[in-house]
């Protein structure tokens, strides 16, 4: 089966350290695929390589049948890949509304944007998305004053404003309260009906509630892939990952 995103034999080394080591992946349209694995497995680096923040040492990344390997960040974003960062990156000095307006990137030409003040459709889309991520009441305040959970939602909202063909979400529930996480689960389960999503996540409890497909990475390569039930039965996965996860949970 041909995926909307295909990664073939990806390698990435920093000096002598091999971070990604022959990783391949295919992502089907309209699925939510979770990328899990212990610390240092290369999950965030994979997201960096897809979104152009890092260039692979070798290998090929194809998006909608186009080779996007080695393109710069803005070129990849323009092809419809939106990303959220592990540490939420919003424009703290701008208001929530302005943050969302910046993310409405139908027109990216600097010269044409000099003569544009209110882009078509932006206000309407902004209201919808603000309601989606529950920030309607907060549009007028500076993003720097939002709570941690709200900042995470704002960044998800910004990715949505891009109307991307694919969303890359790096730890979208990190630091969220139980209640905030419930709300995020609800948002993601709604989004995956119309979007292709890759979520990098540590928390298996959260993965269980959202994933269609789970991909386990270990030492920069693919360890296992399948439904959450398959993954949880897999012996190798238990060994490298779920074992430690269970230990963590027993501490809570």
């Amino acid at each position: 089966m041909v995926g909307v995103l295909e990664i073939k034999d990806l390698h990435k080394s920093f000096d002598a350290t091999k971070v990604i080591n022959g990783f391949s992946l295919a992502v089907t349209e309209m699925t939510l695929q979770c990328l899990v694995g212990p610390n240092g497995a290369g999950k965030t680096t994979t997201i960096d390589l897809i979104s152009g923040r890092q260039k692979p040492t070798s290998g090929e990344i194809t998006f909608r049948e186009e080779n996007i390997t080695g393109l710069s960040e803005h070129e990849i974003a323009r092809r419809g890949i939106g990303r959220k960062f592990q540490v939420p990156a919003v424009f703290r000095e701008l208001t929530v509304r302005q943050n969302l307006e910046v993310a409405y990137n139908r027109e990216t030409s600097a010269v044409r944007n000099m003569f544009s003040f209110k882009p078509d459709g932006c206000a309407k889309r902004l209201e919808e998305i603000a309601a989606d991520v529950g920030l309607t009441e907060r549009l007028g305040i500076k993003a720097g004053t939002l709570s941690h959970g709200e900042t995470q939602w704002l960044e998800i909202g910004m990715v949505l404003m891009q109307d991307p063909a694919m969303l890359l979400l790096d730890e979208p529930v990190a630091g969220m309260t139980e209640h905030e996480m419930d709300k995020t689960v609800e948002i993601l389960n709604r989004l995956k009906k119309t979007n292709t999503i890759i979520v990098v996540e540590h928390d298996m409890g959260f993965v269980r509630r959202i994933a269609d497909v789970v991909t386990v990475m270990h030492m920069g390569s693919l360890l296992a892939q399948g439904s959450i039930a398959d993954i949880e039965k897999d012996e190798r996965v238990r060994e490298v990952y779920l074992g430690t996860e269970d230990d963590e949970e027993s501490v809570h």
Binding site: F91, M114, F115, F117
Partner: protein
Amino acid sequence: MEKNLYHNRLLQWLVYVVFFAALAVIPLVMDDAFLLNQLATYGVYGMLALSISLCWGFGGILNLGQGIAFGLGAYGMAMTMQMQTQDPEYSPIPPFMLNNGLDALPAIWEPFWNTGFGIALALIVPTVFYLIFGGLMFQARVAGPFFAIMTLAILSALATLFVDLQPYTNGVNGISPPAALDIGGFVIDPYMSTSYWVVFALLVLSTVAAKLLTQSRFGLIVQALHNDSERVRFLGYNVAIYETLVYAASGLIAAIAGCCFAFLTQYVSPAQFDVGFSISMVIWAAIGGRNSLLWAIIGAFLVQGAQSYVGDEFLNSWILILGFSFILIVRFLPGGLGGLAETLLGMVSRKRETQESLTVGAGEPETRGA
């Protein structure tokens, strides 16, 4: 929800109107030609502070070499004015070139026979220079202090170049065109109110254009990349192009200022490329408030005004006073005088809001702050 009157767009435009109306009244009530010429020169400094505010305060690009555009613009205009006083048949080359052993007009001077073409070059050359230099730097993601040092290096190089090319530029002596600028019969006499009006009109024009630029979508994206340029790339914007354009726009304004300076003083020299002068532009913007175009202009007026009237009393110690005020501002008022106004108005607005909510009650919060 915080509603600071300082951020009210309508009110901001209103303040601009009042400010420029006040500047427009000056020549109507004052007929001292010398003073009017001096005030027009302040207008030039205002344009330079405006250009710094656009580039640094707004775009986040610290630029210590704004003299590059200012000097190139001033030389372009002075060359145009010089050639207006030459005659193709009887005196085809400026006298200083004869003294420097040239017997034909250098090719680089030829385009300045034509006034319109000369003025266009005075604006286009520095702007294109900024586009190319900025493009190269920002494409390579040179930023912050590294970029500032590069602008300083280029500025010093240009100053040396213009001194060294004595036969073409008259070296340290500079060029002093013997007659006022004449644009198709419209003479801009530096000691008449005409020159004040021309500078005034150009200051208003560049301020309004810069203000509109900051309020456009381009402006919003520049504000965002000033916050976190890395994040902007992942939204699909080519950051280098945005940075280059905001840098070049500020360069164009500085080039206009350079042209005005040349016709106001009828003199241009490598002093226009002086590093100290470019740094004082940054000090004007910092003292007035680099985040506000208008306050940066006011900063230039205040500092240069103080230098002319107070500085004479202190002579050599003036630079110490200026440096000390700069330190005080950076330490205690990082937003400059404009930042102080913002804080004060914020306090007033909040007080007003509390009072109103006491009398009106908690209802209809949206009707306030207009």
